[in-house]
Symmetry: C2
């Protein structure tokens, strides 16, 4: 039968495995693939999503797998089961697991049930594992290693995490091609939404358009789409608002390719043909912050500095329209701008839209020397360390008017020197604006991933020219 | 703020709770809501799906809830937390949990962290719980009740399961309206696929159409859609085939309403305008089996008998085209027809597409007096017991040519008296045909749920008239 799993060459996977095996000092590296995930009863499954590190080193996009790398014996073993005839009746013929294993350069495949005894026999050696983020994998680790959930947390291997994060952070040419494919698909769907959104529609109609276009192109969604006229809510997963004239629509979504590399783009558009005057003023500020942040990208610069640059551009812009006041540098240092921009300016992207978030920001986005800040706003910056050629990141400044946060800060007299709360009252129902694109860090600076998508105020209004 | 959660009246939920509380002899009924479910990292969530029994008794479509009913003190307590200001920034304002609780007739809401001590204080009493199907809920029960996973399985309350199954099996008028809405939405999408499928398209393009139409109408999918030219694979979740002239397309999918009541319909169509002669012959057999099964539906009849009737119609039809032979009654009794129809003729439908599958078929679909058969084919019939007015079921006979199963049976000389293996060779690549609609059992017989959807061979060909 035809083999439909999308894979890189076996040499790619072999090389990746060889590199991680050389990066950890000794013992056994244990990789857990994901299982099917149940929605409202056991056999009613969400779409299967393989663990990203498992995909990176083994490529096999199937549930119920695990693998070990014995660093001392230089041996790699895949654990998994062939389908029974009865399973074939329900789920269809699949290539044999041993044949798939060969396609990714693996020689040794053993039945799933043998992993428990394999690990038990190795209990005197160091068994390295990554932090589990699915409860079934936590339960497996408890069972196999005989540890409590708390003990598991202590025993996660930082050495292993760092080795994986180092490899996955720098994208190869073939990975960049996959991400570009995801971004181009994402661009195409964004442009369609930007052209078709109309007053009177409901957000869920556009959600349907996004899913329809993504799946029709053999893609998946890389995260739950944000398609909302309440753009001030950063991770809004409700879709029940009606699009009203005078409001804006914020669309933040991306697709994954069949190999699960992600794209992630945000645009904010007027529901009508043109922004209102106030909307355009704020949009200009975000757009200039976006451009400045992009222009600053280069290897060696901490992404934290890119974030702070965007913060200052935002604070400066808000000062010109009278919502902030005082010294901009000082305002940003004290975190006053975070009332309007309470999140980070971007994040790594790859096999995960927030790449390797499961491995922990402390290792992926920061270093022992550069710890994450605890200041409101800055603490939401997932990646702060030095940029390196081969990294792929989003750049996504925004300005948000969040009534609950405004009320809370005002009641506590927070940053009164920097914020003009009286003028702010008029912006309570403004919503939020974010502009996001994806970039590859190069030896000289950065490159936009994929085709450009309209982002300047004029370009956006021109795309909306046919609206209503 | 506007309240967007769809709910029945508080009296409905009160009445349901009152009934279940009267049906169990004593102790505490413990209900676990679902949590958010992670795909590739903790905070990248699949669309939230609440537990269906939790929805039935409490209506609240939010993660992180639990509830208890103290049968002796006649007290109901909801456990859950209000959002913090910081969560509001990310996820948006929601109605307060205490206000939502009032909408479903609940007076007492306590913080989540109190449930552990509440249950610990009650450890001398019987704590009834339903079988958990999500690993995080298994972990919670282990923790709260101090039991191992194996001990949990032993301690699941059969009395509680039976009480819930009895209530949920019979649909109220308002539930029937919701299911009808789901079925009508499902019909509309099926008709669109039946009209738009064309040779040269890929299955995933139609998957995109189905998701797009479902979500655009504020629906969800009630299960992973089956949209395949490999209709012989019963639960096929791959979408990579190209639609080829001369083949058939089997579409088996349904939507859920915002309140999560399900629809579930299957149609099989020719890729071109007309069935081939062989396809039409087999289609006729399935369609007649479908009609016969529907005509037989009435209260008091065991659904097992409806299943066997469909099996006989299928065996009889296959005999007329020379694929089966010998005595039809005997062939069905011995299970020879299961080579072509290895699954059940239908299942209960409601808040779950396979209603209450998590509670266990032994209690939902069978009784102490009528146990499920272990015979291949019959053992996949999820519901066998007596029909009652108010039940909603699918009727979905089919004929499938499954090469692996044919080869396996032939090699074992299975049922040679009844099966003409020589003639069967020509059907190896035929695929599969299923026709499925949803029915309400009434006092007199049954009623089709929702609008009729074309199903006779002529009607289907007429819909396909504009194809290519």
């Amino acid at each position: 039968m035809e083999h439909k799993m999308d894979l890189f060459s076996k040499e790619t996977y072999r090389e990746r495995r060889s590199k991680v095996m050389k990066s950890v000092s000794g013992g056994i590296l244990l990789f857990l693939g994901n299982e099917e995930s149940s929605s409202n009863f056991k056999d009613n499954w969400y779409p299967f999503r393989q663990d990203s590190s498992f995909l990176y080193f083994f490529g096999l996009d199937l549930p119920g797998l695990a693998a070990v790398m014995d660093l001392d014996a230089d041996q790699v073993i895949l654990f998994g089961d062939e389908l029974t005839t009865e399973e074939l009746v329900w789920h269809g013929e699949k290539p044999k697991l041993v044949d798939l294993a060969h396609l990714v350069g693996l020689q040794e495949v053993r039945p799933s049930k043998e992993i428990a005894s394999y690990l038990a026999k190795s209990s005197q050696r160091r068994i390295h594992f990554l932090p589990p983020f699915r409860p079934e994998n936590t339960m497996k680790l408890r069972h196999w290693l005989g540890l409590s959930t708390e003990a598991l947390e202590d025993r996660v291997s930082v050495e292993f995490i760092k080795a994986v994060a180092k490899l996955r952070s720098i994208k190869s040419e073939e990975e960049i091609r996959e991400i570009t494919k995801a971004v181009n698909h994402t661009v195409q769907i964004h442009r369609k939404v930007m052209q078709h959104a109309r007053a009177g529609m409901y957000e869920y109609e556009l959600l349907g358009m996004v899913y329809g276009e993504a799946l029709s192109g053999r893609g998946h969604l890389s995260f739950p789409p944000i398609i909302t006229t309440d753009g001030q809510t950063l991770h809004n997963h409700r879709y029940t608002n009606r699009l009203e004239p005078g409001k804006m629509l914020l669309g933040d979504f991306g697709t994954e390719t069949a190999m699960h590399y992600a794209g992630d783009i945000t645009r904010t558009i007027p529901i009508g043909k043109k922004f209102t005057e106030a909307q355009r003023e704020v949009y200009e500020i975000v757009w200039q912050a976006h451009r400045s942040a992009i222009a600053s990208l280069k290897p060696g610069l901490r992404f934290l500095e890119v974030h702070l640059l965007a913060c200052k551009k935002i604070a400066q812009g808000l000062k010109t329209i009278g919502l902030m006041q005082g010294d901009v540098e000082e305002a940003v240092q004290q975190g006053a701008h975070a009332l309007f921009f309470p999140c980070g300016v971007g994040h790594l992207m790859g096999l995960d839209v927030h790449d390797m978030e499961d491995l922990g920001e402390a290792y992926v986005g920061y270093t022992d020397a550069l710890q994450k800040s605890t200041q409101f706003g800055l603490k939401s910056l997932r990646f702060g360390k030095e940029l390196e050629a081969g990294q792929v990141l989003t750049v996504e400044p925004g300005i948000y008017f969040i009534p609950q946060l405004i009320d809370s800060w005002k009641a506590q007299n927070m940053h009164r020197d920097f914020i003009n709360y009286d003028k702010l009252e008029r912006f309570r129902d403004f919503g939020g604006i974010r502009i996001e694109d994806d970039f590859l860090i190069t030896s000289k600076g950065s490159e936009l991933m994929g085709m450009p998508l309209e982002s300047s105020p004029d370009e956006v209004e021109s795309l909306r020219g046919n609206a209503e």
